[in-house]
Symmetry: D2
Subunit: 218 residues, 4 copies
């Protein structure tokens, strides 16, 4: 008799971009590959930091794993905390070249797609649980206009109308990336990985998000 597939959580991270030789997002999510959290199996996939390749790789991973929940993770150099992203917007505006040398300016992520998608993860509950565990965390109102935002938008567009939930989390530099950049915040890998575990666990257990103010005046 056929056995039911265990439910799967898909985590994604990026390859290094620009001058960096590592990408903390991949360092972190690859550590969780194969773990079980709240009874679900974690699978981690790497996405290329390219406007052309990342959406393709994400859609392939969604087909391959048919996940119950998806958390895409990216590096936000300069931020000091885990950033739970609230909204993905339908625009690419690249200040720098991506890893394939592309630099789209003011193009839509998805032609004729809606202007934005909100996350379907319970980010306020995740925020509260991260704080309770002593892990620096914040709600962010923008995921930028580079490949991270594109992946977040593509994810939410793909999940729209399904029961699969998804969202995006930005993480700071690792300490070794900022060793010679005084003033630039970092967070060590153990703290990031612990934060990802809590985020996933809370997301899986929470159906109705909390209503706790965590907005920005501007």
């Amino acid at each position: 008799m056929a056995q039911r597939q265990p439910h799967t959580v898909l985590l994604t991270g990026f390859d290094p971009f620009g001058d960096d030789t590592i990408n903390p997002s991949w360092e972190a999510v690859s550590q969780l590959h194969g773990e079980t959290i709240a009874g679900r199996c974690i699978v981690s996939e790497q996405l290329p930091t390219t406007f052309a390749g990342a959406p393709r790789a994400l859609r392939a991973a969604l087909r391959r794993h048919a996940p119950e929940l998806v958390l895409c993770v990216g590096q936000a150099g300069g931020r000091a905390a885990l950033s739970l992203e609230r909204v993905a917007i339908n625009v690419n505006d690249a200040r720098i070249l991506d890893n394939a040398g592309a630099q789209p300016v003011d193009t839509p992520v998805v032609a004729r797609g809606p202007a934005a998608y909100f996350t379907s993860l319970p980010i306020k509950a995740m925020h509260a649980d991260l704080h309770a565990a002593g892990i620096p965390a914040e709600i962010s109102q923008t995921a930028g206009t580079f490949v991270c935002n594109q992946v977040f938008y593509v994810l939410m567009h793909a999940l729209a109308g399904t029961r699969v939930r998804g969202g995006f989390l930005h993480i700071p530099y690792l300490p070794q990336q900022v060793a010679t950049m005084p003033g630039t915040p970092s967070l060590d890998l153990d703290t990031v990985v612990a934060g990802l575990r809590i985020s996933i666990d809370t997301a899986l257990r929470t159906r109705r998000d909390l209503r706790i103010g965590a907005g920005a005046t501007h």
Copy 2:
């Protein structure tokens, strides 16, 4: 015989909020009231910093003046440059009380409205012209989740489907507001007013925005 109304540009600013006794947005836009820019007459209106009152006051001003173009201006304490806002999102999430004591958390600005609206102003051309004039300016990917974002969203919702263009501009503190707050940037009123004049002039003269990269990696 009836004379045609001169075309009008509507500027809005806010009353002071929180502990502040002035609001630089009103100080700036009120200086431009009655001026003519690129052949249009500027009218300036003050909006209350309240979730209940601001949309009502904005809609009344739109009816009263039937403007050709609208620029709403608000204070973004802590920013160092004129911030041309790219997108308004359909959520209120107040970290602090508004001037009426209200503090909505994760409510929509407009029930069943789209997740976001993009500005219809040529913000890249405005950005370029501000830089050419030596005025600190940036493109911003978030107007926050307080009354400023709400007004921006309500504006774009009201203008949707019309030929009237509109957008939102955040401005820094004035120097006197930060006299005792070391490290907090400010911009003097003359520079802000000069920047508003350029912004309006460029917006009126530019039908098709420039494509110049000014995005954010995150």
Copy 3:
């Protein structure tokens, strides 16, 4: 019969350095040249931004004008307020080349000079009067280790044992310098010049400084 010389206040500013084409310190102090403040005549002199030339030029100006009070002014790109410097230290450590291509590392400003000199200006009273006038101001515990600190140290070394008082003030970028540098604070020239007038007036009128806490925890 010989008439007594009016008492003189010496102001100094620097020529532009690095990639900058103007130096706000010279823009500001040159505006005050020839003014009378509290009955004293202001003379402004430009110093070169070089480790070799600045001390020479400063000493020559001291001889030429025999001032009653000296305020040296320099640019502190990235600061948001007028910075009243508390202390000059006896070390040069240049992270970048000066305008003559020199880059001393860990050399003394004055061989066998004391480790540091405190300002002899009443910086707490100046601080209070700037705040009362609504001008952003702070007490700073370090003038760096470049030409500004060198000039400050050379000044205090020259004045040691005399009744002439002196000190150093750092000022932010001008708005036009940061037009394309989002996030970097600036202060307009009128505010800086107004702040210099108040600083000089207070320094001349105050013999015994106020005791108001304005230190740093680190």
Copy 4:
């Protein structure tokens, strides 16, 4: 036959101050108590965060341990890297109350002491070795005007004229201290402790400091 005492390195950290319940400086140095680094025994002592008590406790520890080298460590909330302090200045100026409720303003640390003391540790070599190990580190030109600077000054005053070397290191908040303070940098305890080991090892092995530029323009 008498055995020679093993040489000792004295580390100090502070008790928590203000609203904090832990002080990362004590968390870090207490972990190293009893370790051997480069053949020397590490002893760690806690100092109270009070202007009255800290000098007394430091002097007692110096007498008790007769160390070969001393490194005092303190928290610098808001900094992102290990800060190797270059200079201690002879002034107390407390912006906040110390743990005993005292708040000296513009008093000398040591009456008739010199204006400042430079560290006698090879901070450039330590800086280079920390960077080589991937640990965020910077040279700092000011230790503030609170108890940390006072302890640093008292230390250098006590060591003046002896062959014992000493200095001060500021460390960031721990992640759990900034969990709810978005934007505020932190560094985890393991990274700090690893950085302290390297700092001590390099200090013990380096007699003549490197000459590598690491100054500040202001």
